[in-house]
């Protein structure tokens, strides 16, 4: 029966993705159902084939009836229609057609393998059993305390390792949770469980407030803010003994109880109960953390961690993400603090000192090379060793352990030497920050099956597409190949009116006017210091102008910051290439796609809902298709740092385009490119423009630019001195004068890239 239910669930999952009800897909539903049946082992072997048959039959009917609704729910159709990159993908490769089924069990199995879940569970179970069977109340109580510390440690891991916000104040959040519990229970008369939940939530809110400012700061200042907060709490406990109970602490009076009259639940948590509760909570928190790390959320974290600037340029609200991680980390600590105080029946201020905070931080450092085992290993070393030393030296009256902090300090040094001295941490980060390191074969297979490039589509491989002699392609030929575009003369997509920016007495931009119609590739040239980059920064919102307006599709953008403008449809690339060491090439593009795409919400990503899986698969397919466009599909699984600098720039371009902007600002996209890469760049830019993207390209390589662009604008000392088609520009006497003083501008017509300025 259970097996049948499981199988039906799989069918339901399949429905969320079944797109056109292909026989192959439905056959796989049946096969998967059969696998489940077999795996559950409850059904007789002979029933398997029949079960599969029956399921296939059911699925056939359900799929036909429910598919459109499922598609609409996934929001895929809608999104692809709105997104130029998506239109491009669909045109060349047809609809992204999810081929594999949402294989939740497969993903689970992969996770169990890569994270060595089974040894962890066995070890943990053995330890738990040993404590429960042989340990006295004191040992059980200590184990419960350690388990609750683990819970706080999971939160600290989220802050410190995942989002690069080193927190030196985690013990302070434990304290907030514990003291709030005392207030809630002793003064407001709440029950233990309710008090724990409320304290956890309130502590999370405190964390959000602390993180509110800290989220905007560089990592070192996050550490300073949390360090100061830790001491604020410690000093506050000392300074307000009337409230905090001083060094004696506060008794909580009675154990934690859970009474739900309606359900007949009446639990009283002893030390054993707390140990089991803590174990369950830690397991839950760890699974949620790993699930998030292996999802789009984890990808976003990696981007925020390694280049906040890139994450912002792609439209992610970095500060908001950071604040919510503070919320989660503090919430876990608050819950842990509340429960652990209730487990011992007293709120003890010595449990929340700066030494405890530091030892938790060290536990994260020590644990970081061990993946999901990390918190266990870290806590065992960082808290266990000082306890052992304390036990050993207290006989001699020395007390060198826990309270004193010497051992913790030495451990920190040892951990630093081990973790940061070598490149172990780096290697670990790369290995673990990936969402799904395993099974590239299966996923690739799925993606490849999505669409073979149609006849006449652009060549795909970078090496085969490479024209050994691109200079032989005359500009005229390239122009003739270009497909029809939306008619120019319509309302401009991007309009700049009287934009002005001064730096001191220098007019970097002086009443710049610019109009770029939809689908136009517009070049922006000028000698160094003429204001090109300043213009891009004012357009993208990273630099506030002193005057003037930016209008996109009739909408005034002047009040919007960078994130707002990305949302409105302006995305830019950087002059200097930024790649994220923690993500593969394909994941870079997925990062661009994931913003605002279905299934990228936290909750969905954590629970790995069918909608999320569908979104992830569609993103993957679209990413691979986009990479194919620019000849990078062979490197989809590669480390982007292994690419040539030219290909890294291509990757950047594709990543920026993947977010579905209507205007793309490219800052020297051709810098450092080889001839074959220039060819790929040209094709990619053309393709994007053909599908309705408007491009503004700053470039020094005038030969390349005049071949690619429809029109170009020349800036000089912050002023527009000419706008027009490349031929007109080349003939313009003002432009010649700006570049060459007097004489002829030869670089446009002569082959061979010429960098000016």
């Amino acid at each position: 029966m259970i097996a049948l239910l499981l199988a039906l669930r799989r069918v339901a999952l399949a429905l969320a993705v079944a797109e056109d009800g292909t026989r192959r897909g439905l056959a796989r539903v049946g096969a998967a159902g059969a696998r489940t049946v077999r795996g559950a082992g409850g059904m007789a072997r002979r029933g398997t084939a029949r079960g599969g048959q029956a399921l296939r039959h059911i699925a056939d009917h359900l799929a036909l009836g429910l598919m459109p609704a499922a598609l609409a729910a996934a929001g895929l159709e809608d999104r692809l229609a709105r997104n130029p990159a998506g239109r491009l993908v669909r045109r060349v490769h047809g609809q992204p057609r999810p081929d594999a089924l949402p294989d939740g069990l497969g993903d689970l199995a992969r996770w169990i393998r890569t994270d060595r879940v089974i040894p962890v569970v066995l070890l943990w179970g053995a330890g738990l059993a040993a404590v429960l069977a042989a340990g006295g109340p004191a040992v059980t109580s200590q184990a419960a305390q350690a388990t609750y510390l683990l819970l706080a440690l999971v939160g600290l891991h989220l802050l410190t390792v995942d989002t690069a916000q080193p927190s030196l104040g985690q013990a302070a959040f434990l304290a907030v949770g514990a003291y709030l519990t005392a207030v809630l229970r002793n003064r407001l008369g709440l029950g233990g469980v309710e008090a724990a939940l409320v304290a956890g939530l309130l502590t999370a809110a405190v964390g959000f407030v602390v993180g509110f400012g800290a989220a905007r700061l560089r990592p070192a200042f996050v550490a300073l803010a949390t360090w100061a907060f830790g001491w604020l709490v410690a000093v506050g406990i000392d300074a307000l003994p009337q409230v905090s109970g001083g060094s004696a602490g506060i008794g909580l009076g009675g154990p934690m109880e859970l009474r739900l009259g309606a359900l007949g639940v009446d639990l009283r948590f002893g030390t054993t109960g707390h140990l089991l509760l803590g174990t369950a909570l830690v397991a839950l928190a760890l699974v949620a953390l790993r699930s998030a790390e292996r999802s789009t959320v984890g990808m976003t974290w990696a981007a925020m961690r390694d280049s906040a600037a890139l994450a912002r340029a792609l439209g992610y609200d970095v500060a908001s993400h950071r604040r919510w991680t503070f919320f989660a980390a503090a919430g876990l600590a608050g819950l842990a603090g509340s429960l652990s105080a209730q487990a011992v029946g007293i709120v003890d201020p010595t449990s929340y000192t700066a030494t405890v905070s530091l030892s938790l931080f060290v536990a994260v450092l020590i644990g970081s090379p061990f993946g999901v085992l990390g918190p266990f290993a870290g806590l065992a070393v960082a808290r266990g060793l000082p306890a052992l030393v304390e036990a050993g030296t207290s006989q001699a009256g020395l007390h060198l352990g826990q309270e004193n902090g010497i051992v913790t300090a030495l451990l920190t040094v040892a951990a630093l030497v081990l973790a940061l001295g070598g490149d172990r941490a780096e290697r670990w980060r790369r290995r673990h920050s990936r969402r799904a390191p395993a099974a590239p074969a299966a996923e690739d297979g799925a993606a490849v099956a999505i669409g073979v490039p149609e006849a006449g589509a652009i060549p795909v491989s970078g090496t085969t597409a490479a024209d050994p002699n691109p200079a032989g392609t005359a500009p005229g030929q390239a122009r003739r190949r270009r497909p029809a575009r939306p008619t120019p003369g319509a309302r401009p997509a991007l309009e700049v009116r009287a934009l002005t920016k001064r730096f001191g007495g220098v007019h970097a931009l002086d009443l710049v006017d610019l109009q770029v119609p939809t689908g136009e590739i517009h070049g922006l040239v000028g000698p160094n210091g003429s204001g090109k980059s300043t213009l891009l920064r004012c357009l993208s919102g990273t630099l506030p102008p002193d005057g003037g307006s930016v209008i996109l599709d009739g909408r005034w953008l002047d009040h919007l910051d960078e994130t707002g403008r990305v949302a409105a449809g302006i995305v830019r690339t950087f002059q200097r290439t930024v790649v994220l060491p923690g993500l593969t090439v394909a994941e870079h593009v997925e990062l661009g796609l994931a913003r605002r795409s279905p299934g990228s919400a936290w909750g969905q990503a954590l629970a790995k809902t069918p909608g999320y899986r569908e979104g992830a698969r569609a993103r993957r397919a679209a990413a691979l298709a986009l990479l194919r466009q620019c000849g990078l599909e062979g490197s989809a699984e590669a480390d982007p740092e292994a690419l040539s600098s030219g290909r890294q720039r291509l990757l950047q371009l594709v990543t920026a385009a993947a977010g579905g902007p209507s205007v793309l600002l490219l800052d020297e996209p051709a810098a450092g490119m080889r001839p074959d890469e220039l060819e790929l760049l040209e094709r990619t830019i053309r393709q994007l423009a053909e599908y309705g993207l408007t491009l503004l390209v700053v470039e020094h390589n005038l030969r390349f630019l005049s071949r690619v662009v429809d029109r170009m604008t020349v800036l000089r000392e912050g002023q527009v001195i000419a706008t027009g088609r490349p031929q007109e520009i080349a003939a313009d006497p003002h432009v010649r004068h700006a570049y060459l003083g007097s004489g002829r501008l030869t670089s446009v017509s002569r082959p061979g890239p010429v960098g000016i300025g």
Binding site: T160, P166, L168, R187, V209, F212, G213, A214, R216, L217, R218, P219, A220, F221, A223, L224, A225, W227, A228, F229, W231, L232, A234, V235, G236, A239, L240, Q242, V243, S307, A308, A309, R312, A313, V318, A354, T355, L358, F361, V362, L365, L398, L400, N404, G405, I406, A409, L410, T412, V413, L416, L420, S533, R537, T542, E562, F574, Q575, R576, V578
Partner: protein
């Protein structure tokens, strides 16, 4: 409220604030010269104070009055020297191996160094708290070092002396940076390290010098403030954090800003603890009646630091631009 009381509150606040300013100047200098934050800054205060106590009494009881001025100054010199060496070691062992880019490294290493210092000091000095003799023996002047003010206030002469010494040191440091050769080299190295190195300036030695100066300033501040209160290891840490608050509020990197912010912080603390707090009740929360809150000024300073980081990020903010 009489003018005498106002003056009393003001002077005691300025004296404490000047000491915070000294600590903050050191913190700012370290940030400006080496682009790191010192998480063991308060423990340099501890090093200074406890080395002073060690030199005087070997860890045992120390006579509070009647010590010859020469011996006091000698011991103070020992304390300052130990803090200076401690700061230099901190730079060499806990900061340099990582470089400014590996933030987690020096954050953890300096924090651990502070913890280690507290642990070692705590293993030797195991009493709850200590009294520290005054390096500025002014008890002979006035009425036991006090001058009665019209209207009921009392002026502590040592507060004036503390203020004077601290401001003199700050002024001296300012002149050193503005006029002297190494001071100019330091400014150059802070503004443009690479250019400075190309012009033959040994930036590494200047960084070490910056840490040494910070150690000296911090220890002096500790020795100036410690005699007025029972000294624990937490006192040093909190003083370090108040210096940090002064440095952050005074625009991190600016020595003058740190001094001004420190003075303001001191006066604010003094005003809050002496004027407002006795009238401060939490009766409506059904809590026990609160008397004067001696520890509140520490809470206030730390709260200000946390708020400053939250609300005035200014240039501490994450780089919004990709490096271009």
């Amino acid at each position: 409220m009489s003018w005498g009381l106002v003056l009393q509150v003001l002077v005691s606040g300025l004296a404490a604030g000047a000491a915070y300013g000294l600590v903050g100047m050191g913190y700012s200098l370290i940030y400006r010269m080496t682009a790191v934050l010192d998480f063991a800054h308060g423990d340099l205060v501890n090093l200074g104070i406890f080395a002073f106590l060690l030199a005087l009494g070997g860890g045992g009881a120390v006579a509070q009055v009647g010590l010859p001025v020469g011996i006091l100054l000698l011991a103070a010199g020992v304390g300052v020297a130990v803090a200076m060496v401690g700061a230099m070691l901190l730079f060499r062992l806990a900061v340099e191996p990582f470089g400014p880019a590996r933030a987690v490294g020096w954050i953890a290493a300096t924090a651990a160094a502070g913890l280690l210092a507290r642990g070692l000091i705590g293993a030797w000095f195991s009493a709850e708290s200590y009294s520290v003799p005054d390096v500025l023996p002014l008890q002979g002047l006035g009425r036991n070092g006090l001058v009665d003010l019209p209207g009921g206030g009392v002026l502590e002469l040592r507060n004036l002396a503390v203020l004077g010494v601290a401001l003199a040191l700050a002024l001296g440091f300012d002149l050193f940076v503005a006029r002297s050769r190494p001071g100019k080299a330091m400014r150059a190295a802070a503004e443009a390290p690479d250019t400075a190195r190309l012009s033959g300036i040994d930036t590494e030695r200047l960084q070490l010098l910056a840490w040494a100066i910070a150690g000296v300033l911090t220890a002096v501040a500790g020795l100036l403030l410690a005699p007025a209160r029972p000294v624990t290891l937490q006192l040093g840490v909190v003083l370090g954090l108040k210096g940090t608050a002064a440095a952050v509020l005074g625009r991190l990197g600016s020595a003058r800003g740190a001094v001004v912010a420190g003075l303001c912080l001191g006066v604010l603390e003094s005003v809050v603890t002496s004027l407002f707090v006795p009238a401060f009740h939490l009766g409506s929360l059904n809590l026990p009646q609160l008397g004067p809150l001696p520890g509140m000024h520490d809470v206030l300073a730390l709260l200000l630091l946390v708020l400053a980081l939250a609300l005035l990020p200014g240039r501490l903010r994450l780089a919004a631009e990709a490096p271009e």
